[in-house]
Amino acid sequence: MSTATATATHDEHHEHGPAKGLMRWITTTNHKDIGTLYLLTALVMFFIGGAMAMVIRAELFQPGLQLVEPEFFNSMTTVHALVMIFGAVMPAFTGLANWLIPMMIGAPDMALPRMNNWSFWILPFAFTLLLSTFFMQGGGPAAGWTIYPPLSLQMGDGFPFMIFSIHLMGISSIMGSINVIVTILNMRAPTMTLMKMPLFCWTWLITAYLLIATMPVLAGAVTMLLTDKFAGTSFFNAAGGGDPVMYQHIFWFFGHPEVYILILPAFGVVSSIVPTFARKPLFGYSSMVYATASIAFLSFIVWAHHMFTVGLPTVGELFFMYATMMIAVPTGVKVFNWVSTMWKGSMTFETPMLFAIGFIFMFTIGGFSGLMLAIAPADFQYHDTYFVVAHFHYVLVTGAVYSIMAATYYWLPKWTGHMYNEKLGKLHFWLSTISVNVLFFPQHFLGLAGMPRRIPDYSVQFADWNMISSIGGFVFGLSQLLFAYLVIKTIRGGEQATDRVWEGAHGLEWTLPSPPPYHSFTEAPVVK
């Protein structure tokens, strides 16, 4: 206990690798381990949410009710969305942030490693709470992922558990975002100015600010739902002096930036991959930064385009229509810059590039339907129909999810040291791409023909496209098993990957060995 003994013990500095067994994963503060935890959890949640989608498409395969009661169907659509948004896409992007940001900026780890551990471990609890509501009286949430009152207040015993689960998810995101911002602003290698850092880091920096600004607003909205149900408040009850539409304003003030939270990291991933496989620098780096920042700013002033049919004052409808249309400008700038990166490059089409190019094509299609939706008088016909469902699945599945898959194929050799099987990767891409279009493209037609959302059964004139969509859904769902197989196989073994992995890859992470050491960049690198 004397000072001398303490000093002597301290000098026996042992090389500590990760702890062994389960405790390693529970107590880890290492950004690589936490990144892996997030990514694998996201993969599991992707299949859980996907299973719910299969129930939906199975019921909608034919007109008439064949499989499930209407209320259970509503809970499938609700929880499918909650799981995919909060359990699959957001954790996957956070996993990518954890793995990549420190390596990309030459930092040894995230700025706040212990908070990082908590940020992850909240999530399994949050989702256990959410999914447990299915076993309670009244069943799981069935008012849509947007949980509008008064309908959401009719939910059974699971209601407070759902609210608490949402709070937990929000806390996880806020803590993760604080970590991202502090890390990026403080721990970049000395010569890496902000305008030299990879675009993926820029997109996550901006996303983190969006999360911190908006998750508390969601927390406020769901807390008001809670007090309306249990504490006698009337925030959303007209008889008590409140307004159901106020919930929609508060929710969508969160909800619209949320969808940009779901896509900005995707833009960062695509901006990393295309230059590598075109063997050409990203076109218009500074414009890409400004465009991302513009999109983030604009995302705060467009929320009521989700509410065009509630009876807004005319001047409000016009304002939100114009502001929403404006977002097409910076988004278009990004697409043009990606195409210009491809232009006159020397392209090869390995699996990451296939997914990245697929993203650019199909996200753009989603962008076009988004522009159509922005036109308020036309939106009166599109709102709450399958046209909207088609739009957001194009931007979220062939957009966000494709970018996550692209990122996985791109960086898995770095993370694991093993090359994935390229033939199987390409097969996964083509199966997915063909089936995802069979699944979602006909939904544009269904919406235009007059089919509303969130219905378990429909008029017979909608039958043909629904059957086709469902077939696409089943094939798409099955194809993702191939992805899971590939990921697990590559983790366990495969052809040894080089440091650089891809011929055209540039960036600090490609200067590290594959896999990188448990602690990398313990000394700051020099960036030219």
Binding site: P63, G64, L65, Q66, L67, E69, P70, E71, N74, Q137, G138, A143, Y148, P150, A239, D243, P244, V245, R279, K280, F283, T309, G311, T314, L318, M321, Y322, M325, M326, A328, V329, V333, F336, V339, T341, M342, G345, S346, M347, F349, T364, I365, F368, L371, M372, I375, P377, A378, F380, Q381, D384, F445, L448, A449, P452, R453, R454, Y458, S459, W465
Partner: protein, 379 residues
């Protein structure tokens, strides 16, 4: 040969575009919105097609460039990567040009929206109330009021494991027991609200939908040019039977409309009068069965057994076998904090007496008869 390929591709797209733009398409495999039955719906359709075609043109350019690049600028073809990576001119150009295109879209969009929002100088008003899971219509000036529910035949067919082939039912899930009848050529103002949760009233052929929000009244209007039957349904998730709340609007010429109005007013008088006489038990039970099927069975089920945990059973229930006063109060005023709505404004005295009698005498219940006069007294 490249030019020929491109031309063929363009003409295929053009043909598709034209066929999308033409009027009625096949009911099945329908690809596009319809032009509808009102000047508004036609304006909305034109706006929709304009934006769509502009998007197609931009898409052709962008995807064309991508496809060209994918083919030409590949390593396997010996392409050597250029190293250019910025151009301020390009950035300015592809910022300014899209802004110009957007402004050109915003002008017709604004015009259409302003026209749609103008409900002044209407010829008649219909109040629409969304209720879980039916619509109520009140013609304010004409003194007509009725509930419009999913047609009983459709309702039976749509039950899980009904065994009915729904393809054999015409306009399955878009039939109602009482349609909304309106005159052609008149500007009809709709006042839209709800009793319980948010619904949305949508008939695509009218060109718009409007949310029905409890405690608030939204306004919209339509002028239907041609007689016909126009169908729609609820378009805001409102609970388990959201998919089973259709809307049928029947537009008649002036003479036929006047006949319908007179008939409805006479029916209303007769219903009022029927409340003043004594009904036999058989009459009450027969009418009560119909009212129950249309209004109560969705939750309490045809078997009277309800859904445990969600909707209470009426078979052997203390309310349906206990004092009439309690039963009347529950049906007339609903149950706060539950999905049980107040039926005092939804059903007349005869309907209420019939359904209460039916509930008190079915499924093993044997708890006496309730006359319309008793309902009137209890209000």
């Amino acid at each position: 040969m490249k030019a020929v390929r491109i031309t063929r591709y363009l003409s295929a797209v053009g043909v598709t575009g034209i066929s999308l733009g033409s009027g009625p398409v096949l009911a099945d495999y329908a690809l596009n919105m319809r032009t509808g039955a009102t000047p508004t719906s036609a304006q909305v359709y034109d706006l929709h097609m304009t934006i769509f075609l502009i998007c197609c043109a931009i898409g052709l350019l962008v995807f064309g460039a991508m496809i060209y690049s994918i083919i030409r600028h590949r390593k396997s073809r010996g392409a050597v990567a250029a190293q250019f990576h910025e151009s301020t001119t390009a950035e300015i150009a592809w910022t300014v040009v899209p802004i110009v295109i957007l402004v050109s879209m915003a002008v017709p969009a604004t015009k259409t929206l302003l026209a749609m929002e103008d409900t002044s100088d209407s010829d008649m008003t219909i109040k629409v109330t969304g209720i879980q899971w039916k619509w109520k219509y009140d013609y304010l000036a004409e003194g007509i009021s009725f509930i419009s529910s999913l047609d009983p035949k459709d309702n039976e067919a749509r039950q899980l494991d009904s065994g009915v082939n729904v393809a054999g039912i015409d306009h399955y899930l878009r039939n109602v027991d009482q349609p909304v009848v309106v005159p052609v050529g008149k500007k009809i103002r709709f006042l839209i609200t709800a009793n319980d949760v948010i619904h949305s009233w949508w008939v695509p052929d009218l060109g718009w939908k409007k949310d029905a929000i409890p405690g608030y009244i939204n306004e919209s209007w339509a002028r239907i040019d041609k007689p016909g039957v126009y169908r729609g349904q609820c378009a805001e998730l409102c609970g388990k039977d959201h998919g089973f709340m259709p809307i049928v609007v029947v537009a008649k010429n002036e003479a036929d409309y006047a006949t319908w109005v007179a008939q409805k007013q006479a029916d209303a008088k007769a219903a009022m009068a029927s409340a003043d006489r004594e009904w036999s038990k058989e009459e009450l039970l027969k009418h009560g069965a119909e009212v129950y099927a249309a209004n109560c069975a969705a939750c309490h089920q045809a078997s009277g057994k309800g859904i445990p945990g969600a909707f209470p059973a009426l078979a052997g229930s203390p309310v349906a076998t206990g004092p009439v006063k309690g039963h009347l109060d529950t049906v007339l005023n609903g149950r706060k904090g539950t999905a049980m709505a107040a039926y005092r404004d939804l059903l007349n005295d005869a309907d209420l007496a019939a359904v209460i009698t039916y509930e008190r005498n079915s499924w093993g219940n044997d708890a006496g008869v309730v006359q319309p006069a008793a309902v009137k007294a209890a209000r």
